[in-house]
Structures are given as structure tokens and as C-alpha cells.
Amino acid sequence: MTTNTAADAVASLGRAGSAGAPVGLHGLSRSFGAVRALDGLSLDIAPGEFVALLGPSGCGKTTALRIVAGLQTADSGTVTVDGKDVAPVPAARRDMGMVFQSYSLFPNMTALENVGFGLRMRKLNSASRTRKAAELLDMVGLSPQARQYPHQLSGGQQQRVALARALAIEPRVLLLDEPLSALDAKVRLQLREQIRTLQQRLGTTTLFVTHDQEEALSMADRVGVMRAGRLEQVAAPSELYSRPATVFVAEFVGTMNRIPGDYDGQDEVSVLGSVVPLAGDRPVGLTGAVDVLIRPEGLQVDAASGGNGIVTDLTFLGSLTRVTVLLSGDVQVKVDKPSPAAASLAPGTSVQVQVAGTEPVLVAVPGGSGQPRLS
């Protein structure tokens, strides 16, 4: 009787109007003792949008998510859903589906009962509850496991049930706290796609938290990079990669080289014998010796006797090969080169590394990992 297709399930959910609501986080701050977990976090999420919060461990991602869910309070700042402040609404009435970082299925209930739990709280009768829970399990591909208890399910299956459970209540907002972090790489890849596909079909506004940049970049419409309780930049994945706003973002997302250069204090910087334009605002109080940030594909490497570096390592990446070069001054850089051309560059080869093109670049305090103040 419950052999509906996934498409039917989605259709029946969509009809009930679960289409996402706009969500706003405005100046959220939260301290735990001396630790400032959130420090004025602001973010606007469009209806149906999938936004990922990306940041290193301890930067306040979970705290932000829990405040949105109503499981934690903010010291200051507001969360709005549909333009309304949700502060007075307790977690139980926020209509937000949440998937937790750790396994959170109720051990005393079957997969089906777990998915039906939220519906039961919404006073659905037993028959329609079971039908709908079965549809959702079908949607995450777990119909055969409906009668099994959590301890009989694999980690990936448990997280899929948790996803189905969160979606069953037709949440206005879906909150995912590193739901894939406990899973092995292969399952993680499959689930990434599944979550993304479901989210797009259902159109649920989604906030996804992760410390895995690949996950964030591959799944989200927009990615917010967090650092120490604040957002450094919110942008589409491609923009985040190609036009990082800060040194932190540049170095956190993707691979980035730091190459010594000379900054004139104006709008240009010279590095590896080229003069390239500066990206973004002029850094204050930073002239002379700087570190210039350039991605591996922004550099060019060619064999040259008496060049400025020596090849130390080659990493085959498919069509590209990543060449590691030791420049004079003990600076190591990584350069991407088409694999056929890179074949001749054995370790030990003397090479000339240059800047390819004139893409604007960011500069940083030499050696430091901090970000210069912006004017």
C-alpha cells in the first residue's frame, strides 16, 4: 500500500506548501564565559535557498544553528523567519527540521516511528502518519528498513532516517549540522547528492553547517565562511574561490600560495618579476615586503636552466599535475600544469615560475596568517 514513488512523495509534500521561508540572522552574539562563540553574525537567506556555513572547528557554526533552532539563546541579535522575530517561539513550535551532528534517532523507535514522531506531535492520526512516514522513508531510499531499530541501521542509513524525520514535518527551515561528518567518504558523497536533490525538489530553505569546504562548495547556493564567530564573506562557491574578500577566506577555501612580493602602497604589487593589480581595498599600514596570494592555476612553470626554483614534487590530478617548486628564499609554491606538459618536469629540474595573467591578487602580512586591516 505504501509503494508510492519518490516523485509522488515529493509532490504530496510540495502541495502542503512547505516551500521555504526567508530567514534572517541579525547581529547574533553569544558568549560562553570568556569564549565569544558568536560575535555579531548576520546573514540573510532567501526562500528556498541552500546556504552553507563553513568554518574551522570552534568558530561558532553549531552555536549559530542552535540559536536559529531555538535550542540556545543569543545574548543579542535576532532571528527572523518570514520577517518575524522568532525569539518568543520555543523550539518545539518553530517548525524547523534539524539533523544533528551526532546520531540522534530515538533508539526505542523503529525507523518508521522515528520519521512519524514529528507528525504524531502534530496530532496526525495513525494511518496518515504511517503513510506519510513511509513516503519519506521511500524518498531517502529506506523503505525496506522501515521496521528496523536504529541499532540495526548503518551510520549512513541512520542519518538518512534523521533527514526524513526532519523533512516529515514539512519544516519552514531545514537545519543540518554536519550531518555527514561521521560517515565514510563514499557514503558522504552519495548523501551529499541526495540531500541536495531533495532540497531542490522540496524548495526548503536550508542552512547547512560544515567544516568541509568541498562539501560546502559542492552543495550550497551560497557559502558563508565563518571565523571566530563572524562571517568573513558570503558568496556563491565560484566567487568565493575566484574572488575571496579576505586573506582568511582565500587561504581557507582551496589551495593558496604565499609568495614574497613588494607592495607600493597603492594599487599594484610586484611579484616574481611581474606587476599585478591589487584585489579589494587597500590594506592599511602595509607597504614594502608582503606575501602575495596566488592560486596554483594562477602561476606558470617552465623548465629553464638557472631558473628561480627547483621542482621537488609532482602530484598527478588527472588532466592537471600539481608541481611543487622550491623557490629561492625557501618558499614553496604549488603550480598546476597540464599533465602532458608537466611530464618533463622531474623532481630536481630547474624551473622558472611566473605569474600567469593579470588577475587581481590579495596581499598579506609576510609570514603571518592574519589578515591586514582594511581601509
Binding site: 544533528f100 546520531y103 540522534s104 531499530y149 561521521a182
Partner: protein, 289 residues
């Protein structure tokens, strides 16, 4: 007397039960059998001697005494009162402390040890002083005293139970799905605390059925008090009564454990068996941490 075993086997929960090193493949664990035999002899020889001494007729005699029934019923009633009150008071309190006031948990542990540390006399005299009039002279007062006595055991059982699964996350999941506190407690926390509550029940019942000091000081004819009084009259019959008490208590505990753990086992939850030692709870009970 009876210990309850709970071996949690759920993937994804923290607190891995400390495993004892498995018996080595080649060697036969002879010493285990030796210990078992010595222990068995220690328990069984007195039991056997008592049985021989009492003789079969004494058993039929015991039950024909009129005060036997009322004493036994009183003990059962007290066990019921004490168990229900203990669970009703301790479960929500422990869960609340665990979730909201984790720092108070240690204080609570210290407080719950008090009834063990103080001699029962002190407690009774204090209690008789402050007890309201409507309770004085009723068995309910004794029931309340047993609640106090059972508190340390109940707390430790529940504490171990709460450590065996990720309560905090489950409670939050339940909240976010729309369940309020009472529903969460009833549908999520309690079903997963089943084993711990069962242990608490078994210990409370065992305690009540064997407690003598308080009952006799308060002048109640509970089962143990009856046995002692009876002993002065007839040797074999009172021994038969003691054996009966032992047997009935054991039967009762078996019954609780069997009934209580059946559904738990079906759901893949913790298993409960009588007369074996719990790995999880003894580990948490033993460590001052």
C-alpha cells in the same frame, strides 16, 4: 543481594562499556570455575542446611499463621509505595539535573549518599520529629523512609542509565520535532531509561523486603520483622519462614526483571539479567571521577 546487568550495545552512543579482557583462546579459565564453586558453596551450604533443619512440614505451617499474610502484604505494599515514589521523584529530577544543571550532579551524588552514611536510627528519630501528624502511625511513613533509603541506589542506577545514551541530543531532537517537555520525558527519555529504572526498582524492592531496623523501630509488622518475632517461638518454622522470604524475594525480582526486559530486548535495548554484574553501571558507580 541481587545485581542487575545492563549491557548497552548501541552504535553511535559514546561511553563504550569497559570490556574485560576476553578469556584467552587456548587456556581454559579454570580459576573462574573455582571461584564459582567456592561462591556457590558459600551460598548453597547454609541454604541446604536450613532446608534440612526446617523440614518440609514447617513450610506448610508457616503459611497457616494468620499474621504471615498481613506481614507479607504490608511488605509488598511498602515495596510498591517506595518504588513508585522513588521513580516519580528521582527520574524527572535526575534528568533535569543532568540536562540543565550538570554541575549540580556531583552535589546530588553527595547528597544521595547521606542515607547510607547516617545510621538508620538517626534518620528515624529525625523523621519522627518532623513528620506531619496524618502520616504518623501509618505505613505510608515507613514507605517514605524507604524512599529515602532507596535514593542512593536509584540515583546511581539512573545516573548510569543517563550516561549510556546521548540524552541531550535526543531531547533536543524531540523538542525540534514539536514535542514539549512532558511528551519528551514520556516518549523519549523514559523508554530509553527503562533498564536503569528497572535496576532501581529491583534494588528498591530488594531493600524494602529485607529491611528490619526501621520497620521494627517504627513498630510495623513487616515481613522481616514478623520473621524475627516468630523466631522466638519456633525454630524450624522461623527458618522455613526465612527461606520462604528469600525465595519469594528472589521470585519477585525475577518476575520484575523478566517482565521488564522482555520488550526492551525485543527493541534491541539493553538486556537485563539477574545475578550478573553490570559492566556499564558498576564502572560508573565505582569511579569517583
Amino acid at each position: 543481594m541481587a545485581a542487575v546487568a545492563s549491557s548497552e550495545q548501541r552504535p553511535g552512543t559514546q561511553v563504550p562499556a569497559p570490556r574485560r579482557p576476553a578469556a584467552r583462546r587456548g587456556g581454559v579459565p579454570v580459576w573462574r570455575w573455582v571461584i564459582l564453586l567456592i561462591a556457590a558453596a558459600y551460598f548453597l551450604i547454609p541454604l541446604y542446611s536450613a532446608l534440612r533443619f526446617a523440614g518440609f512440614r514447617a513450610f506448610t505451617q508457616v503459611t497457616s499463621y494468620p499474621s504471615f499474610g498481613s506481614a507479607f502484604l504490608l511488605s509488598l505494599r511498602l515495596a510498591l509505595i517506595a518504588t513508585v515514589l522513588t521513580l516519580v521523584l528521582m527520574v524527572p529530577t535526575t534528568v533535569y539535573v543532568y540536562l540543565r544543571l550538570p554541575r549540580v550532579a556531583r552535589l546530588m551524588e553527595a547528597i544521595t549518599i547521606v542515607p547510607i552514611v547516617f545510621p538508620p536510627i538517626v534518620l528515624i528519630i529525625g523523621l519522627l520529629k518532623i513528620a506531619p501528624g496524618f502520616l504518623l502511625g501509618t505505613p505510608n511513613l515507613l514507605g517514605l523512609e524507604y524512599v529515602v533509603l532507596a535514593m542512593p541506589f536509584a540515583f546511581r542506577c539512573l545516573d548510569a542509565g543517563l550516561r549510556s545514551f546521548d540524552v541531550r541530543t535526543l531531547v533536543e531532537a524531540s523538542n525540534s520535532l514539536g514535542a514539549g517537555w512532558p511528551t519528551t520525558l514520556w516518549r523519549v527519555v523514559i523508554p530509553n531509561l527503562r533498564t536503569a529504572m528497572l535496576s532501581a526498582t529491583v534494588l528498591t524492592v530488594a531493600l524494602v523486603l529485607g529491611e528490619y531496623t526501621m520497620a521494627s523501630l517504627d513498630n510495623y509488622q513487616t515481613f522481616p520483622v514478623w520473621i524475627v518475632n516468630f523466631e522466638q517461638n519456633s525454630g524450624p518454622v522461623s527458618v522455613a519462614a526465612s527461606l520462604l522470604a528469600l525465595f519469594v524475594t528472589w521470585l519477585l525480582l525475577m518476575l520484575i526483571v523478566t517482565v521488564g526486559s522482555r520488550s526492551s530486548r525485543q527493541r534491541g535495548g539493553a538486556q537485563v539479567t539477574l545475578f550478573s554484574v553490570s559492566t556499564a553501571s558498576t564502572a560508573t558507580m565505582g569511579e569517583p571521577e
